[in-house]
Point group: C2
Chain length 371, copies 2
């Protein structure tokens, strides 16, 4: 199998687990956070900077790469790894989330989705077969099944029909996927906020015996408590010996709860997106470095952090860079936020290995102010 | 003296010379190009990236730093070096060029210049004393006298009056400059495109016995031949034992001619500005990486270059980054252009040391297409 999961340690009190994922582009420790490189680049930083902060796998986007520069061009370049000069793991999503986000610009049928490009309005068609073909051309280590990510709220009848279609689409993806020697196809459990549909979805996908499973359709606007409830219900339905990936989650509080319930992999644009707006992640919450209070604050962004930004520059300097629209500002906050999150994942893993994840979570929640 | 020039080798056939400049923040080889860090950052790159490409001294701007974040704040941070985490040389211009560029927003008197900020329209006053005070607070290694950079064309009468005032202002800067232990004040020769006024300006400034001299008021829209003529006339009027700096020049052809006439130091926003628009400097001219012809070109930007961008990424990838407005694109072209220019200066220096600068210049001109 192209991608395998090795379970190393289970928390004695919760669902949390520490493991290791083996891919054609290296092995990495789990639980892990995957920085998002939508258009074949993690915004504002280099592959070397990603390696310096210990990133083992990144996420890139089928929808965006299909439109620009085109998957044939990426294949001609020798695949996505070579094109962007990243020799560690890459997971690509299927494009489903993006085309469904286009709203009135797309139309769904059993066959697939017709949509108009957000760039030039040109008409395109994505289907399970097409999404799989594109991802095979990109050559990512992990590819995702083409699914519908149902928006929130949605009624039971709609979600049931959509979830059943997502299962049929997953089957078609599996049939279309021929690059099984160096690529793993993961299924995506949907089912909205309905436990019976989550159960149905998980059962149908597990029956396909795919090398890994994602939980999709969460963190789409529902209350956090509801997301955690769905997670608690869904994760135990997935096979223990395979990796579990919670899509689109990247705030520290949600990461802790995801790990608590047994998730191994996460991705989210949150840390990089807020960084570009001058928001810095810390253990106690967030620091908006543009604020006037930091104008003469010559301390690093985070006094406990060892990232390149915190080792070399002050809040006052980084604030100056943001006030003058200098690119170095958002480079430094991006580096800090990703370093912070990757390190946070490593700390959780250590806590699991030492079997004190429950204490770790308590201490974290006591000082973290979610917003 | 805070800054001294060591003449190492003179070309036997031209005015070109190789030397070494000693500053409180290290010594560096001349002729040298100074990357421009207008707002306490060379746009898009880090101090470490500058060091990797061998930059020894950068230029920053009094006008911009006075407005944001303010020179008192920089002083409070421990000076500009510490504020921006750059421990090599810094030269600051006096702000004269910027306030004179404001056009209708400024008013000149013998005392100084009243101007309105380009940011918020607030009213400010810069004078020789004020410009010197600001630069002392910034703590740069080399500070520039407050001058008027006359626009082109201008009539003899106006240029004469302006040049005489620039000499009086230089005298006032010298009197105001008390930080002579770790800072050198350079004078700026003006005189427009009039040889008699260039002679007058040089004589009056040389009489002040300053530690270095710049040639200002060139590369302001005049034909290149006229600029070279002014340079050929002016440089011999300056003392041999002191550094000579040609302000605002940074295209390869002009750099070669500047060196030919005996210039030691240069600065220009050109390499970094065009980089951000996707234009790449090469020995044969320029390459516009956004162009369609590079979409499937998997060669590096410049096959003879050893910079980080050329070692790791293709034209096709960098074009993709520009087409999708990704920051990494302009980071890579900025790194390439600065690496190219700094390396070009080192090659000229080697040619001077080996006394074959004339051949070097011939070979360069034969393959370079100026635009």
């Amino acid at each position: 199998m192209a991608v395998t999961y090795e379970l190393i340690k289970r928390c004695s009190k919760t669902g949390a687990r520490a493991g290791r994922l083996h891919t054609p582009h290296g092995s990495f420790d789990t639980p892990i956070f995957m920085p998002v490189g939508t258009q074949a680049t993690v915004k504002a930083i280099t592959p070397d900077e990603l390696k310096d902060m210990g990133a083992g796998i990144i996420l890139s986007n089928t929808y965006h790469l299909y439109l620009r520069p085109g998957h044939e061009l990426v294949a001609e370049a020798g695949g996505l790894h070579k094109f962007m000069n990243w020799d560690r793991g890459i997971l690509t999503d299927s494009g489903g989330f993006q085309v469904f986000s286009l709203g009135p610009l797309r139309k769904i049928t059993e066959e697939g989705v017709t949509f108009r490009s957000h760039i030039d309005g040109s008409k395109h068609f994505l289907s399970p077969e097409k999404a799989t073909e594109i991802q095979m051309a990109l050559g990512s280590d992990i590819i995702m099944a083409f699914d519908e990510c149902v928006s929130y709220p949605a009624d039971h009848d709609y979600v049931r029909k959509s979830t059943e279609r997502t299962s049929r689409w997953a089957q078609r993806c599996k049939e279309a996927h021929t690059r099984t020697d160096d690529q793993a196809l993961f299924g995506i459990v949907q089912g909205g906020m309905y436990k019976d549909l989550r159960t149905l979805s998980a059962q149908e996908l597990v029956a396909l015996d795919l090398p890994g499973y994602a939980v999709g359709g969460l963190s789409v606007g529902e209350p956090k408590a509801l997301m955690y409830e769905m997670l608690e219900h869904t994760i135990p339905l997935l096979p223990e010996g395979k990796p579990r990936y919670l899509m689109g989650v990247g705030t520290p509080d949600c990461l802790v709860e995801g790990v608590l319930h047994g998730v191994d992999m996460f991705d989210c644009v949150f840390p990089t997106r807020v960084a570009r707006n001058g928001t810095v992640m810390t253990r106690s919450g967030r620091l908006v470095v543009k604020n006037a209070e930091y104008a003469r604050d010559f301390r690093p962004l985070d006094e406990t952090c060892g990232c390149y930004a915190c080792r070399n520059f002050s809040r006052a300097y980084i604030r100056h860079l943001f006030k003058t629209n200098e690119i170095l500002g958002l480079r430094l906050t991006t580096i800090h936020n990703l370093h912070f999150l990757l390190n946070f994942m490593r700390e959780m893993r250590t806590a699991i290995l030492e079997d004190n994840f429950v204490d770790f979570r308590q201490e974290f929640l006591a000082q973290y102010k979610a917003r």
